[in-house]
């Protein structure tokens, strides 16, 4: 009666063919990507894969993560049951788990029964959540409900199957239903209970119905899988294996020789890993829910960027394989499969998306590579950036101020040039610290504290050049490359080994980006150095809590998320004020950007709410007297934001200023 191999086997072959074709198509598309080595440190990679793909560490970090964990692991367990089902469908009665040794069969059957129940419950929860409060509105997609429905069908059919089979055995063996079912319930608790409810007269038809429902659901699932977002079931695991092992806080270099192309305007210019990323997206929306651009109503949505790359690849793949021009432009009007220029320019490179993504998709680097195309190949960018680019190239600072003015900030304090072999630390003041009238106060505070602690330090003066952070994140790699090479040569000539920066952007660039140029520096952010000086007893702040009032600390993206420095500034505050700072709702690795990173400092914000206003309002909720920052951009963004939200009496201070107030009074 039920399993009919002559119907089932051709259907199975057909669905496996559709599955294989879908997988092959996607794999061949991924192989269109440029080469990139992600095969190093295999041991570490396996560990990462176990922790994040199988252990689902990041998935579990959010509510409903547990729900996904349950579905994932149920699936792994049910792989056994489904393999049995398929083999049984082709060769009825020949292959059965029951035929396994009793000690293996019993726990296995128990696990399968429980896993099916858990999966069913989890799927119901997921469905209700998607209806009642989806992670983002578009998550109420047909695709999602279809798959949830299929999984539920599979589980229900599996219960139907097991229950009818139990009932049939019970009837065949003429057992006493109560004792039979109570024994069976120890092996298959759920199925046994259902078995007790089944009408004996209709067992055959129920079994047949359940079997075919299971067969159809399973075969549909197999054929549909690679064609949907659920492809991530297959790709997320390798994606965790191939993840970028170091923090994604730099971008790869470009080689400036004739004939090379710069940036990405067509999907096949991305690396195979970028393309694998696009097929690994679970569309969970976690990235867009932390993205400062998305949250404040800009068109940029990191989930959509990844999705559009996938759609574009699927649409253009066969053309690209034949070496023809793609039909759908990658950078275009912003319809499905295209990404608008406004989206591309909206990114603050805060890294929140990458920190949130459960499967380690690298959204931000993909955006920067499109910026590179726009700047370097098309010379097309928001007009505010023209001056910035020219100033950076001509005068090595964003404002185009004469380099001879670099030392004006220290005209009234005692400073000294960095001397080869005698000075320990280069104090790399940075453009903001040298030219911005507000940040000059921070530079002075740092300098005075260094003197107080007896640190040997010096500056480069008019020879200091911009580190190039903004131009690199804005995709102007050509100018960055020029600045980086000049700086690296200067540092090498001066014998610079240890550098103090008071700007997280200089900090990260000198520390991480310049490594690509063969320069290994010991770079220390002023908050770390101040913390060390206090710990070593070289700075004695005493306790002066009252003068600072309530203090809330804002994490800078390039200090925190991009470089994992979270505690040093907090410890400085604690030492200076006597108490730990207040924390905003979103803090540390979950902190919300001030809006100035990624070169956004130099651009207008035309659409939606201003990012700094959003963050200032969040800070104000803590009713602070002082908002403490550790970055000149954050300083500007908060001071500007505070003016706009019209709060009286809240001041913004850098950690160095806080420490200086405590130490130098």
């Amino acid at each position: 009666m039920t399993p009919n191999p002559s119907i089932f086997t051709p259907l199975l072959i057909a669905s496996l063919a559709v599955f294989a074709w879908g997988c092959w198509k996607r794999l061949s598309l991924i192989m269109l990507g440029a080469p990139e080595n992600r095969f190093d440190s295999v041991g570490i990679r396996i560990g990462q894969m176990l922790k994040y793909a199988f252990g689902q560490k990041r998935v579990l970090a959010k509510p409903f993560g547990l729900n996904h964990f349950v579905i994932f692991w149920s699936f792994l367990i049910l792989l056994v049951a489904n393999t049995e089902f398929i083999l049984n469908g082709m060769f009825p009665q020949s292959i059965k788990l029951v035929k396994l040794p009793f000690e293996i069969y019993v726990p296995l059957a128990f696990m399968i029964d429980i896993a099916s129940l858990l999966a069913l419950v989890a799927v119901c929860i997921a469905t209700v959540r998607r209806i009642v409060s989806p992670p983002y509105p578009e998550a109420r997609s047909l695709d999602a409900f279809f798959i949830l429905g299929l999984i539920a069908t599979l589980m229900l059919a599996a219960f139907g199957l097991n229950a009818t089979e139990l009932a049939a055995i019970m009837i065949r063996s003429n057992s006493d239903p109560v004792s039979f079912l109570s024994v069976a319930a120890q092996i298959m608790p759920v199925s046994a209970r259902i078995a007790g409810l089944l009408p004996p007269a209709h067992l055959g038809i129920i079994h047949a119905g359940a079997w075919w429902a299971h067969a159809f659901a399973l075969l549909t699932f197999i054929s549909y899988l690679p064609h949907s977002k659920h492809m991530h079931i297959l790709t997320a695991i390798p994606n965790c294996f191939f993840r970028r092992l170091e923090k994604p806080n730099t971008q790869p270099r470009e080689e400036f020789v004739i004939g090379n192309s710069f940036g990405v305007a067509s999907v096949d210019r991305y690396s195979w890993k970028d393309l694998l990323d696009s097929f690994s997206c679970t569309e969970c929306g976690r990235c867009q829910n932390v993205c400062p651009a998305s949250i404040t109503g800009k068109p940029l949505n990191p989930r959509a960027v990844v999705h559009d790359i996938k759609v574009n690849l699927l649409e253009n793949g066969s053309l690209l394989k034949r070496g023809e021009r793609p039909l759908t432009p990658l950078i275009g009007e912003g319809g499905e499969g295209s990404i608008s220029e406004e989206s591309i320019w909206g990114c603050t490179t805060c890294g929140a998306c990458m920190e949130a993504c459960p499967v380690f998709i690298e959204q931000m680097p993909k955006i920067i590579r499109m910026r590179r195309h726009l700047v370097e190949t098309e010379a097309r960018f928001p007009e505010e950036l023209l001056n910035l680019f020219e100033n950076m190239e001509g005068r090595s600072n964003p404002w185009g101020i004469a380099p001879s003015e670099r030392t004006k900030w220290c005209a009234h304090i005692e400073t000294r040039p960095f001397e080869k072999d005698t000075t320990e630390y280069l104090f790399y003041v940075g453009c903001a610290g040298s030219f911005d009238s507000r940040s000059k106060h921070v530079s002075t505070a740092v300098a005075l504290l260094l003197d107080k602690a007896g640190v040997s330090w010096g500056i480069l003066g008019k020879d200091e050049k911009c580190c190039g952070d903004s131009v690199r994140r804005l995709g102007n790699e050509y100018v960055f490359d020029k600045l980086a090479r000049e700086n690296v040569a200067l540092f090498a000539a001066k014998g610079v080994k240890k550098v103090i920066t008071q700007c997280p952007h200089c900090f990260s660039t000198l520390k991480n980006d310049y490594r690509q140029y063969g320069l290994e520096l010991e770079v220390i952010h002023h908050s770390e150095l101040l913390r060390n000086l206090v710990q070593d007893g070289r700075l004695n702040p005493g306790t002066k809590t009252a003068e600072f009032g309530n203090m809330v600390f804002h994490d800078s993206c390039y200090l925190g998320r991009h470089n994992d420095v979270y505690d040093a500034p907090r410890e400085v505050i604690k030492a200076a004020t006597g108490s730990a700072p207040l924390e905003m709702e979103r803090s540390r690795d979950n902190a919300f950007c001030c809006g100035a990173g990624g070169g956004r400092m130099w651009m207008e914000e035309h659409t939606g709410e201003r990012i700094n206003i959003n963050r200032v309002n969040e800070a104000i909720k803590q009713q602070p007297d002082t908002i403490c920052v550790a970055c000149p951009y954050c300083l500007t963004m908060f001071e500007d934001g505070l003016k706009d939200v019209k709060t009286e009496g809240v001041r913004v201070r850098d950690v160095a200023e806080v420490m200086a107030e405590a130490v130098l009074r």
Partner: protein
Amino acid sequence: MLIVACIKQVPDTTQVQIDPVTNTLVREGIPFIVNPYDTHALEEALRLKDRFGCTVVAISMGPPNAEATLRKALALGADRAILLSDRVFGGADTLATSHVLSAAINKLHTEVDEVGLVLCGKQTIDGDTAQVGPGIASRLGYQQLTLVGHIENLDLSAKRIRVSRKLEGRHEIVEAPLPAMLTVVRELNRPRYPKVPMRLAAIEATVELWDNQTLKLNEQKIGLKGSPTWVSKIFSPERVQGEILGDGYADPEGTAKLLIEKLLAKDMLPI
């Protein structure tokens, strides 16, 4: 048709300082830039190229290192770049400069193709005379349209151009037959940014060198010998030491009030 853009290499004057002792320009280590007005002249030439397909030739008279300026022009899209450089061109005033430049333009006109437009900056930021453009026009007998803020119309078949001149407080629309020499102001356009592939190509491209062997000009009319004017002294006027009125950072409101009072007292606020 050729469009000739005259571009001069100038020291970045914001970075130039005057030696207080010798009263001369301290030029060491000061980077050179393209005279800012000339970037607008070049940009307009390139826009006309984009629209009408003319050939753009960038020319510059200067020392051998002025080649860098011309490479920038190539990176932006100029078809040819010619450096007019020779020891005997050195020390030129505006008279001698426009003599050499006009000779070069005339050579292009007779040997390469008809010159339709010569575009110059309004003035340079180092010499500031604003005489070279008009000097070229008068030598070549071209129409002279100075301070151009907008090209209203260019009719290549009728060989006419209509431009808007930006004068103090007013605009003047004038029309003239080609060939014409235009000096341009910054409002004319927004210069483009170079594309990397073109920058790289420009590094390898040839900048043609024309010396006096090429131009064969009378040495009495060029360079120092051909220059009736020379700069005898440069000095910066003495500045009286300023006075710090208040600490704007500590007390912005009070300091602003103080400033307003001072300005009012000196009758420097239009109330």
